[in-house]
Every structure is written in C-alpha cells, then in structure tokens.
C-alpha cells in the first residue's frame, strides 16, 4: 500500500520580487516497508521536499501539487491540528544537522519529554508523568545505542558530540512509533564507523518494526547498502525513479548516469589513477534556472528539444524525464511518450 504519494509537487519562492520554482513537478511515492532513497546534489531541493512533506515551510512560500497524500488523505487540504496529529504519530523526521535541529538553550531531556505523544503515557496523576516520560526516554536512548544515557539527558546540545546528537534525534523521532521515517542526510559529516551504526540501525528498524524510510542523501555508498528504490533529483526536478538495482545497472537519464559514474566504488572496472568522470559546470542557482530540462546546459546528450520540459515516461516500473534517454531506442521513447501523455 502506498503511504506517501507526491505527484507534481511545485514549490515557488519569491526571490527579489520574482517567483522562482525551487521544486518543479517533483513526484515521489513511498510504499509500506520500503526504503526509498532520494538522491541529489546539495542545492537540488532535497531538504525542501522534506520540509514540504512535514509542513514546516515558511507560510509565504507557495506549494502546489496534483497530489500530496498520506494514506489517501490530502495533506494540503488538511487543517493545522490534523496535520500536526499526523506529524506527531505517523511521520517522523530527522534532520541533516542534528546540532542545529535541537534547541541550544533547552536540556536534551526536556526536549525529549516534549516529543513523547500523550497517548503513550498511561499513568493516573500528573506528577507521575515526568518519571514515566523519563523511563521512556531511557529505554529509547538505550535502544539506539547511546552509552551514557543519564548524562545525555542532562546535557545541552553543544556539550555532546555529533553522533550522539544524531542518535538522540533518531531516538526522539522513533518515540512516537511512526510508520514513516524521513531521514534527511542522517550520516552527513560522520566517520565511517558511526555511519555504519546509523545505517544498520535504520536497516534493522525497517526489518523488525516495518518502518518505511525516506532516506535523503547524496552518499551513494550508504544508499546502495540499504535502499530498495531510488529517486534522483536534479535542481528541483525529479529526473529518474525506480528500483535501485536496475537504475544502478542501466540509468536512463544522463544525469543518473553521471551520478552513478561519480562514485568510484560503483565502478569495479575502474583502473587506479584513471580520471573520474563528471559533468562540466555546477548545479544552477535559484536565480539562474535554465528553462526546460534543467540539466540542459550541462547535458552531453542535449539537443534542441531539451528547452521543453520532458514529460515523465514509464517503462518497466521505472520513470524518467528525458527526451534522449540512454539504453532506450528512439521509437520506444516516442511510444512511451504517448503513454505518458495519456496518464
């Protein structure tokens, strides 16, 4: 069953009096018990998608979507308290910078107690609630593998190392027993052993508690070790979407190919000291977005048609948005084109 379904999500931000599409028709869906990876460079809008799902975007930004549903309920039409309830019980988010995502002036214990939903506490009197909440906090923090739990609860954010903060964030996110965990680059800037711990934690949660995970990252190695399916994002556009293995073996979109090629560990045939391939240029800034397919100016296969935004085409459970895809014959592409328009 599809938990979260996003179709053609567009986010417009006003920049110097002009509306800029920071996200342009992003589509994404997450099924039950699935780990989906959302990949893209920094600045491609990954974090914006996370904020759009969780409803924490500034009110002056304009969100439009053909579909943004949680178990069939439209998140955009919902009132604030209903949305808050879903965020409190069903969806949990962990952020890329744990230190910035925790209040620096409040002790961690208090922040943890605050995020425990009231339904989980069944004691009769209010003075018992605090110790009950502490019990839950202790259990959760031990579960994610924090060693000195008492000290952690009594500390401020700046007193703890990054990895403990990240585990604390994960514990805090999991306390409400969510169905979907959105992990926004949870392993950024971490050393390998900590990274492995966090990844295996995610994996075991998915295995044992049937937790679905939206794993937002640009760390291809981490993704390949846990994800089932992958969505590739470039400059606010989803360029390709499909099961991880088949995307990895045969990327349709030139950007996906460049992305896969940029990770040396994905290419066992690579000789020592051979140059790494990379697309020329950098990801465009919001002020200078190209028209049509946003990869256009950097794309090795770009032609005249690329100034029109390609429609999504589906083939074998995979979706891509490109006029001149790799590994697909031209006729096949046009046939699919019609299908795409019919959808």
């Amino acid at each position: 069953m599809i938990l979260l379904d996003i179709r053609n999500l567009t986010l417009e931000i006003e920049s110097n009096g002009v509306l800029v599409k920071a996200l342009d028709k992003v589509s994404l869906s997450i099924c039950e018990k699935e780990i989906r990876a959302l990949v893209g460079e920094s600045g491609s809008g990954k974090s914006l998608i996370v904020l759009a799902i969780s409803g924490a975007l500034p009110p002056q930004w304009i969100i439009t979507a053909d579909r943004l549903t949680w178990r069939g309920q439209n998140l955009l039409k919902m009132n604030t308290s209903e949305r808050q309830k879903i965020m409190r019980r069903d969806i949990a988010v962990i952020f890329q910078d744990p230190k910035a995502a925790l209040d620096p002036s409040v002790k961690l214990g208090e922040q943890f107690r605050e995020s425990i939903p009231d339904e989980l506490i069944n004691v009769r009197w209010w003075w018992q609630r605090r110790s009950e909440k502490n019990q839950i906090a202790l259990a959760q923090l031990t579960r994610v593998g924090i060693k000195d739990v008492k000290k952690c609860l009594n500390s401020y954010v700046h007193e703890l190392p990054d990895d403990v903060c990240q585990k604390f964030m994960i514990a805090m996110a999991l306390v409400s027993q969510p169905t979907l965990l959105i992990a926004d680059d949870p392993t950024r800037g971490m050393e390998t052993s900590t990274k492995r711990q966090i990844l295996s934690l995610c994996k075991s949660l998915n295995h044992n508690s049937d937790l679905s995970i939206l794993f937002v990252s640009h760390d291809l190695l981490a993704i390949s070790s846990i994800a089932h399916s992958i969505t590739v994002l470039y400059s606010g556009q989803t360029v390709e979407d499909g099961p991880l293995e088949s995307v990895r073996r045969k990327p349709f979109h030139p950007y996906s190919k460049a992305l896969m090629d940029s990770a040396p560990s994905f290419r066992p045939e690579l000789h020592p000291k051979s140059p790494l391939t990379a697309l020329k240029g950098t990801i465009p800034t919001l002020q200078h977005l190209p028209i049509g397919c946003r990869l256009g100016p950097r794309c090795p296969r770009a032609q005249k048609a690329c100034v029109n935004t390609p429609v999504p085409r589906t083939i074998h459970k995979r979706q891509y948005r490109c006029h001149f895809p790799l590994h697909i014959e031209a006729e096949e592409n046009t046939v699919d084109n019609n299908e795409g328009e019919n959808l």
Partner: protein, 337 residues
Amino acid sequence: MLRTLGRYFNLFFITLFILVGLSFVLAFFFPGDPIFNLTGRPLEQLPETPYTQALADERWLVAFWFYIQSLLDGSWGISTISGLDLFDEVSTLLPATIELSAYATIIALFVGIPLGFWCGLKHHRKTDYTFMSISMLMSSFPIFWLSLLLILIVSLQLGWLPMSGRLSLLYDIPHYSGFILLDIYMSDHPYRQEAFVDALRHMILPTLSVAFLATAVFLRTTRRAVVDVLEKDYIAAAQTRGIPFWKIFLRHIMRNALLAVLPLLAVQVSTLVTNVMIVETITEWPGLGDWLIQAIYERDYTAIRIGMLVVSIVVVLVTLLIECLSKVFDPTQEQFS
C-alpha cells in the same frame, strides 16, 4: 560559572582603575592649577595631610595613590563654583537620575519587548510593517526636540502636566534615600498622598521622552531576534514533531529570542544615559546629567572630573552586569568562558 563571574569582576576593576587614572590626568589637561582642579581649593587653603604634601612636592605617583584613597573614603573635593562638597552633591543627585532611567527602561521593556515579539511572529505582514515604520520614526526623533515638543504641547498648551522639576515646592519632603517616590512614602508629611500624585505628574514627561526612544530600540532588537530564531532549524524540527505552535513559542522561541536580546541591551546603556542627561537638562530634573551639564557651562573642573567619573562608572557597571547576566543565563555561552 564562577570563572565567568571572576573574569567580569577583574574586567570591572581594571576598567575602574583606568577611569580613575583618567580622571586624575584630566586635572592636568584642564586649564589652571592641577591641584586646584583636583581638590577645588588652592594649595594654601588645604589642610596639612600626606596627600597635600605629595601634591605640593609634585610627587604625582604618590599623589595618585592618595587620590584613590580619597575617592574611596568619600572626600572628593569641593565644587570650584558653589563650594559644596562633591560627594554630598552626587549622592543626592544620582538617585534622581537612576530613578528616571529605571522607570523609563521599565516602560520601554514592557512595551517594546512584547511588541517586538508580536512583530517578529507576524514578520513581513501589515502589522509588522506598521510597527516597524512607527519605530523607525520613533528612533529617528531627536530626543531634545521630542522633550521640548512634549513640554510645549502637554504642559504649555494643554496645561495637563507640570513642565519642569521633580516635585512642587509646596511639599517639603525630607531627603532620605534620594528616590522621590520612596522618600514620600517614608515621610510623615500631612499631604503625603497629594505629594505622591504630584511627584508622579512631574515624572511622566521626562520618563516618556526617554522611554520613547528606548521602546523603539527594544522593539527593533526583539523583532530581529525573533525573526532570526524563527528561521532556525530547531523551530522547523519542532514543527515536524507536530508540537502546537503556542508550545513551540513558549518553550523555544521566547527563551532563545530573549537570550539573544539581552546582550544587545547592554550596548544600549550608554545611549540611555546620554538621553537621560539631555532630558534632565531640558526638564530641569535635578539629576546628575543636569548638574554635569551645568558644571560644563560654568567650567567647574572639579565637578566635571567627578561627574565624568561617576557617570562612566555607572555605565560600565550596568553594561558589565547585563553582559554577565546574559552569560550566566545562556547555557550556550558557558563554553566560551
């Protein structure tokens, strides 16, 4: 924590020492005899003490040592114009100044900070723009003009409030603490109630003129701090946890914004003191500012020296106190101490 306090204590004493040294050197920069500038009397009229001996022999370093001692035991010299003892003068005048600035600050805090929070939460909307424009107008008012304008309209044209002074001459309240409201409360004057009302009526105009500018500054500072906090990741994170907004406001926004505002207020202390001095002069509030400006007009060098010393010590003390408080309250600051 103790180390922070110790550091501030040190800082205060070093600054104090430099200020005292400066005030000593000032006596040599002023025209005339340095001994006369230091004590208010020519050398021949001074009593025979080790201090005057050192001054007479021009052993300046020794004299400086005795100068510090004389400052500590309260013999600050006499005014060259009026011949009054400076220590007595200052100790009657300083409470009046403190009173005026304290009330003005309290009004500004209670109006400016809540409004700042409101604007910050509604930033880039109509209420915010309205209040920002108003506060812009308020902070660009020259304070002497504002004070004159208030006197002109409220006292002279409408006749609602007295235009100058601290208390009507009808009431003879004995000097006790120097804080007028407290003195009236403590006294057993038969018209205590009336005197109290009169004192309040005298207080309104100067307090409002000082508070006017301070409110604008507090409003802008608080608004900026709130807007900054709202953009922080942890607010978005709290929202994604589905916590209702009023809880986020109480637990996260308010605390962090106030912690950010506190050190910025320390910067405002000297501006506040300057404004108080100007308003005192215009409304003839019998405070230190009025007295000091009078002394400058009359070239009363001993009074200028002591006035400068007292005002700067007050400014340094309050500034350091606020900074110290913000360090103590803010858990994230502890790591730098």
